[in-house]
């Protein structure tokens, strides 16, 4: 399994992915073998059906939104994501390491910075990408997470309270900055990190 995967993935590609995402060589090859095992059609890309085939993901209440996050803009049914895109999305979940903080300050922010992690979570709510979580978008996510036993009115009041707690400029929606402020006491760097085995 190992040798087949690495012959299909060229060294230059690995280097590029390494530079873009910060993963190590072994992590990239390991994730590539996972990618190929998911890729039932063996055409080097993943479709939404490939993701939906993952059993636990299918019953995750936010499963659809998570799958969406892997695909670039545009909700076209025929979307496919290649390995680069796959790694780019997963890079958000790399733990932040201290020795990275002092690297080249002029380089663009790494994908796994706190702001980018928060942006990823923000986009799970904000489907229409207008940089605001409206009351409806919040209600949709709440309904998915809370289940069916709660009445609409009660859900509505929960949503109202949530917006009230976060909203500072009174536009009855949560902007990205307000979102960051609400989560400032939550240890997002730790919570949104997966230990990718070396």
């Amino acid at each position: 399994m190992g040798s087949r995967a690495s012959t299909l993935l060229r060294e230059e590609e690995i280097e590029e992915i390494k530079k873009e995402t910060g993963f190590s060589h072994s992590q990239i090859t390991r994730l590539y073998s996972r990618f190929t095992s998911l890729d039932k059609g063996e055409n080097g890309t993943l479709s939404r059906e490939d993701f939906q085939r993952i059993p636990e993901l299918a019953i995750n209440p936010l499963g659809d939104r998570i799958i969406n996050a892997f695909f670039p803009e545009g909700l076209d049914r025929e979307d496919q994501v290649n390995f680069r895109g796959f790694m780019r999305t997963l890079a958000h979940f790399r733990p932040i390491e201290d020795n990275e903080k002092n690297k080249d300050p002029t380089a663009s922010e790494p994908l796994n910075s706190r702001t980018n992690k928060l942006l990823f979570a923000f986009r799970l709510y904000d489907l229409d990408r207008d940089d605001k979580i409206s009351r409806d978008e919040l209600l949709q996510v709440l309904r998915m997470m809370v289940g069916v036993n709660i009445s609409d009115e009660q859900l509505g009041s929960i949503a109202d309270r949530t917006i009230q707690e976060a909203d500072q400029n009174g536009d009855n929606s949560i902007s990205f900055n307000e979102f960051i402020k609400v989560l400032e006491k939550v240890d997002v760097e730790q919570k949104m990190s997966i230990r990718f085995l070396h």
Partner: protein, 584 residues
């Protein structure tokens, strides 16, 4: 402020003298007249010449002696606690445990002075069967479940390996000291040293709780120290019993040692099993209490105590059983019982554990006043030093290994507090009294008392300034918000999903799997029909709404709001039973 202090001290002295004047249990001895110290109990001695029929007023103390004395002691403990909180700036500087021990010393001294014999000591049975369970139950019921399970690996690592390291290290080094000072300590064998170190090495949950409650370090540090103190009971119990039985055997073989190792596992898992069983039965029982809500809280206490007693009977770890029982039944019981029942459970637990803790510390103080103390500078000082040394090295080594695997590394400051916060308490004290008699037993008792007093006083008093000096991360004392809860749940789901994509069976994967199992089988079986499926988001929202209503209606005192916020935050940290409803 000074006036209040004097009042408190006077009251305590009165009470103490009452206790000292209660006669020893010899029913047919005439009582002596009270002598001076402001006694206000009317115990006149009556002459036996007056025939029974003509007595208008009589005192029959022996009839009520046992409960009367118990109540007096509890009264003393509670008044001491009251007096402590009224005494101005003292609570900020001196931890409660120290003050209670000092009160105990005072009362013990008074009793000794009046009776010229040793005051009543804390019997091991009374301690293990009556005083310890409420504290551990309270700790288990309010354990932040989510945080505990996230750090479970590290906690077990410290508890099992750390305790083993300490016990073996201290035991062997103490034997070395005994060999060196063979003049005075020659008859202390290696097994005796190991037995002693097995009881002195263990960190005590009561002492840790009472000190750490006041210093408010960050939750992760708190759960590490506290979890370790709870779980090392299994190791301590086994090692203690093991060395005790080795002492009775003529020869110790390698097989015996191996069997001892298996026993650790057996004791721990056995305690866990007993706790699980009783927890589930309690949850099931609580499902049917809707028609007799008044006695519903009683089941919680009965089943937990039963689990403790059962595992003590089977020589398993009682502490682990009762903690497991509490953790298991909590979410189901809370869903099944009415709000009032839940509140009464919480208040009763807090009250009982508080009284227990106070009594333990007072008795520790009283029991220090003994008739015979055997002192040996070499033994006592080396024990103290070795305890500190081995704990420090143990923590550093273990943390170095465990940090490679953890998400949240344990910083050096946290490590220092973990090492420094390893307080010894009443468990060692009781265990040392249970040792079979041998020439140097008095020495062990004295050394244990010294170590306990040292850790509680010196370490207990200085840990708060040290925490501030080292700028250890403190607990964030903010109230939960619905937003935080929603976003945290979102992140949980997100991470579980990403772990599925990557194919990595990490924490989130297992947590998710457990939640599904819980949803599908346990909750349906153990929770009443109408109470099913309340997501944690809804729970937080309802709690906050309720709190707002109460705040509008009445003026909440500082203590109430602290209690509420601590209850709220502990509720939040528990693994939510039903945070998502999977439709099946």
């Amino acid at each position: 402020m000074d006036g209040r202090c004097t009042h408190a001290v006077l009251l305590l002295l009165c009470l103490g003298s009452c206790l000292s004047l209660t006669p020893p249990a010899q029913p047919f001895v005439r009582q002596e007249k009270a002598s001076g110290l402001g006694s206000n109990s009317s115990k006149g001695g009556l002459s036996l010449d007056v025939p029974m029929a003509l007595r208008v007023f009589s005192v029959d103390y022996y009839h009520v002696q046992a409960p009367f004395e118990i109540v007096l002691w509890i009264m003393l403990a509670s008044l001491a606690k009251l007096g402590f909180h009224w005494s101005g700036r003292l609570p900020a500087v001196v931890p409660e445990s120290c003050l209670l021990i000092m009160v105990g010393l005072l009362v013990g001294g008074v009793i000794y002075g009046v009776r010229h014999s040793a005051p009543p000591t804390l019997s091991a049975d009374a301690f293990f069967l009556f005083l310890l369970p409420p504290i551990v139950l309270d700790a288990g019921y309010f354990l932040p479940g989510k945080l505990f399970f996230e750090n479970l690996g590290t906690i077990l690592w410290y508890a099992v390996l750390g305790t083993l390291w300490n016990v073996l290290g201290i035991g062997v080094c103490l034997y070395g000291v005994c060999l060196l000072a063979s003049g005075s300590l020659g008859d202390v064998s290696l097994l005796h040293c190991l037995l002693f170190s097995s009881l002195i090495a263990a960190v005590d949950p009561v002492a840790v709780l009472s000190v750490f409650q006041e210093i408010h370090v960050n939750e992760q540090l708190h759960i590490l120290v506290f979890g370790e103190s709870l779980l090392n009971d299994a190791v301590t119990v086994v090692l203690y019993k093991l060395f005790e039985s080795f002492l009775r055997l003529p020869v110790v073989t390698g097989v015996d040692v191996l069997l001892g190792g298996c026993r650790v596992l057996g004791v721990g898992l056995g305690g866990l099993g007993v706790g699980l069983f009783f927890g589930l039965v309690a949850a099931l029982t609580s499902r049917f209490t809707s028609r007799a809500q008044v006695i519903a809280p009683l089941f919680v206490f009965l089943y937990s105590y039963l689990s403790y007693l059962t595992s003590e009977m089977l020589h398993l770890s009682g502490i682990m059983a009762i903690v497991t029982c509490a953790v298991t039944m909590k979410q189901y019981v809370e869903a099944n019982l009415s709000e009032r029942s839940n509140t009464s459970i919480q208040y009763f637990l807090k009250m009982w554990s508080s009284v227990s803790e106070t009594l333990i510390f007072i008795f520790l103080g009283v029991s220090t006043i003994q008739d015979v103390h055997m002192w040996s500078w070499a033994f006592v000082c080396s024990t103290l030093l070795l305890c500190l040394l081995w704990r420090a090295t143990g923590v550093i080594l273990l943390t170095a290994v465990v940090n490679k695997v953890r998400r949240n590394v344990v910083t050096f400051r946290d490590q220092f507090i973990i090492a420094y916060g390893g307080l010894r308490g009443a468990i060692c004290f009781s265990l040392v009294f249970l040792i079979d008699d041998f020439p140097k037993k008095r020495l062990f008792i004295t050394t244990t008392i010294v170590v306990i007093l040292f850790t509680v006083f010196v370490q207990g008093m200085t840990i708060k300034p040290l925490v501030e000096l080292l700028e250890v991360k403190r607990r964030k004392r903010n109230l939960p918000t619905v937003s935080e809860e929603i976003h945290s749940r979102l992140l949980d789901h997100l991470l579980a999903g990403i772990e599925d994509v990557v194919g990595y069976w990490g924490q989130h994967y297992w947590k998710d799997k457990f939640e599904q199992f819980n949803q599908r089988y346990l909750c349906r079986f153990l929770i009443r029909e109408e109470r099913q499926a309340r997501s944690s988001i809804v729970r937080v929202y309802q709690e906050l709404e309720r709190r707002d209503e109460r705040a509008d209606e009445e003026h909440i005192t500082q203590l109430d709001s602290n209690l509420l916020s601590s209850l709220l935050s502990s509720m939040l940290f528990n693994s939510p039973c039903l945070f998502s409803h999977f439709l099946f």
